[in-house]
């Protein structure tokens, strides 16, 4: 990274920023712009991937490029109704090393949005092994994501684990807690609706429809 003048960087960011149709989410995370690393964590089936697909659709609608790194195969019914499919690049990863290589490859592409769907299964396998390499690889991934986030908005999905007393916290341990710039917890409330929390203070409500997601203030 060479020293670059601020106004040039701001102009680059403006070029890569895309119009989105989720103003509440924009305010909740403090702005959907390059430089942000957003983690969506929640139990299975709550709609983390749905929010990601909604943002991918917004980005493609604006004519920008999207890179998606996924640990599971993308089905055709996810891809229908997406415009400008040639601006979307997908890479399949099945291990931490694949993820590192993909992140390095994204650096040489100019994309506005990078989505990493399902980061937990990739990193969980390395964390559990008895040797010390696990934490080092976690650090590598953090650095890789940080480098990518300089030019693009990075969103990834994580899972939940129970932290005792019936409480839930993000997976991947204490070392990973500092990885994102914003962490959004998605949970079910008492009536079965879906809520998104930031720092246990600010909440928003999530509804999933056929055309995409709707996020409104609680």
């Amino acid at each position: 990274m060479f020293p670059t003048p601020c106004n040039w960087l701001l102009r680059q960011n403006k070029l890569l920023k895309f119009q989105n149709t989720l103003p509440v989410l924009d305010e909740l995370v403090g702005g959907l712009h390059p430089g942000q690393i957003i983690e969506l964590c929640g139990p299975s089936g709550i709609g983390k991937s749905q929010v990601c697909w909604h943002l991918i659709r917004d980005c493609l609608n604006a004519g920008k490029n999207v890179a998606m790194i996924s640990s599971r195969k993308i089905q055709d019914y996810d891809l229908e109704n997406l415009p400008n499919l040639s601006n979307l690049s997908i890479s399949y990863v099945s291990s931490v090393y694949n993820l590192l290589i993909s992140l390095a490859a994204v650096n040489s592409m100019s994309v506005s949005l990078v989505v990493i769907d399902g980061i937990q299964p990739l990193l969980q396998a390395v964390l559990g092994s008895a040797n010390f390499k696990g934490q080092a690889l976690l650090n590598e991934v953090k650095c890789g994501i940080g480098t990518v986030s300089v030019k693009s908005l990075v969103i990834y999905t994580n899972g939940l684990v129970s932290v005792g007393d019936g409480n839930h916290g993000p997976a991947l341990g204490r070392a990973w807690e500092v990885a994102p710039s914003v962490r959004i917890m998605m949970l079910r409330d008492r009536e079965g609706g879906r809520v998104m929390w930031r720092n246990r203070e600010v909440t928003a409500r999530l509804e999933i429809g056929d055309q995409g997601v709707e996020i409104s203030w609680n």
Partner: protein, 328 residues
């Protein structure tokens, strides 16, 4: 690209050799890295040969680069090739599943004992062998039995009922020709069963199958059986399940297989029903369906995760297999 060579899965001896040659990052090694459309296996091999490394290191590095770069290359998605789903013979259940079970996906069925999970597994295994002319996949299926619930006699019964059904719906001369030559024996020759008595056998079986998978569907009946009671160390169990889930994902991406996994349920402290195997497993499946027994013959399926989340469909299990409920 500043990817340090210590973070690559290559043996220590290679790493030490490279550091002695002052190679710290991967970009020191390859001047032009093959990304995107310029990915070329020959260019990687040529570049590695020019570097004058000792044979053993060169071979390791070339293998690693080709395997990983090939798998993770960025591509634009292509739709258009029509994928044939595996049907369940109940039209309400099929429409709930948006057509059936598609290739390259992992579907998880949950249910209490007696909620129709094993019957559904056997029906799906038989349905894989329906000929293409009738909208089936005509592929081999592997039914991995961990519980002992798979019954060859029941598979025979279901295959006979399928053949009768195909004979009834055959209209054109071509279709009638195929069904007249089709026998139950031929349908069942495409259904493979394997019995696993502990988790090591299950993992070994998946490893063998992953090497060269020519099955169209792999059905694991009751994954939780071997993981619920044998482990004293919960951390070891989580690690093994995490690695197993990675293997399943890789299998799904490499080959056009449908993975159907049946899980069991447990009661948690507050009295509500939770799936077994914990939170980290729950992210593996792309779709999760909860089965329940409503009355003597009638069962219901609810989608917990995936397209059409929250919707329910009813089906019936008769002597012929899984069928629709009769209209009220």
């Amino acid at each position: 690209m500043a990817l340090p060579i210590t973070s690559l899965p290559i043996p220590q001896s290679t790493v030490r050799y490279l550091s002695s040659r002052n190679v710290v990052y991967l970009s020191d090694l390859l001047k032009t890295l093959p990304w995107l459309d310029s990915y070329n296996e020959e260019s990687v091999i040529l570049q590695m040969e020019e570097l004058n490394l000792p044979e053993v290191h060169r071979r390791l590095l070339t293998d690693f680069l080709i395997n990983h770069l090939h798998q993770t290359a960025f591509q634009a998605p292509q739709i258009g090739k029509k994928l044939v789903p595996i049907i369940t013979f109940s039209s309400s259940l099929d429409s709930l599943l948006c057509g059936g079970i598609f290739p390259n996906e992992i579907v998880e069925f949950l249910g209490e004992p007696g909620s129709g999970t094993s019957q559904l597994c056997m029906q799906l295994a038989v349905d894989c062998s329906i000929p293409e002319m009738f909208g089936g996949r005509a592929c081999k299926s592997l039914l991995i039995d961990c519980n002992g619930d798979t019954c060859n006699i029941r598979l025979n019964q279901m295959a006979k009922a399928t053949l009768t059904h195909l004979n009834l719906i055959a209209r054109s001369a071509e279709e009638k020709d195929i069904t007249s030559k089709l026998t139950v024996d031929e349908l069942l020759s495409k259904v493979y069963t394997a019995r696993c008595t502990n988790y090591t056998q299950l993992i070994a079986l998946i490893n063998t199958v992953s090497k060269d998978c020519n099955y169209g569907a792999i059905i694991i009946d009751a994954l939780a059986t071997h993981f619920r009671h044998e482990f004293e160390d919960m951390r070891q169990r989580t690690n093994i399940i995490a690695e197993f889930s990675n293997k399943l994902h890789k299998l799904c991406i490499d080959a056009p297989v449908s993975l159907i996994i049946v899980n069991q349920v447990r009661m948690d402290g507050e009295g509500s029903i939770q799936p077994c195997l914990g939170e980290s497993w729950s992210h593996t499946a792309t779709r999760r369906i909860f089965l329940r027994r409503v009355s003597t013959d009638v069962y219901s399926a609810t989608i917990m995760k995936g397209k059409r989340s929250g919707e329910t469909a009813n089906f019936r299990i008769s002597s012929r297999g899984i069928r629709d409920c009769p209209a009220q």
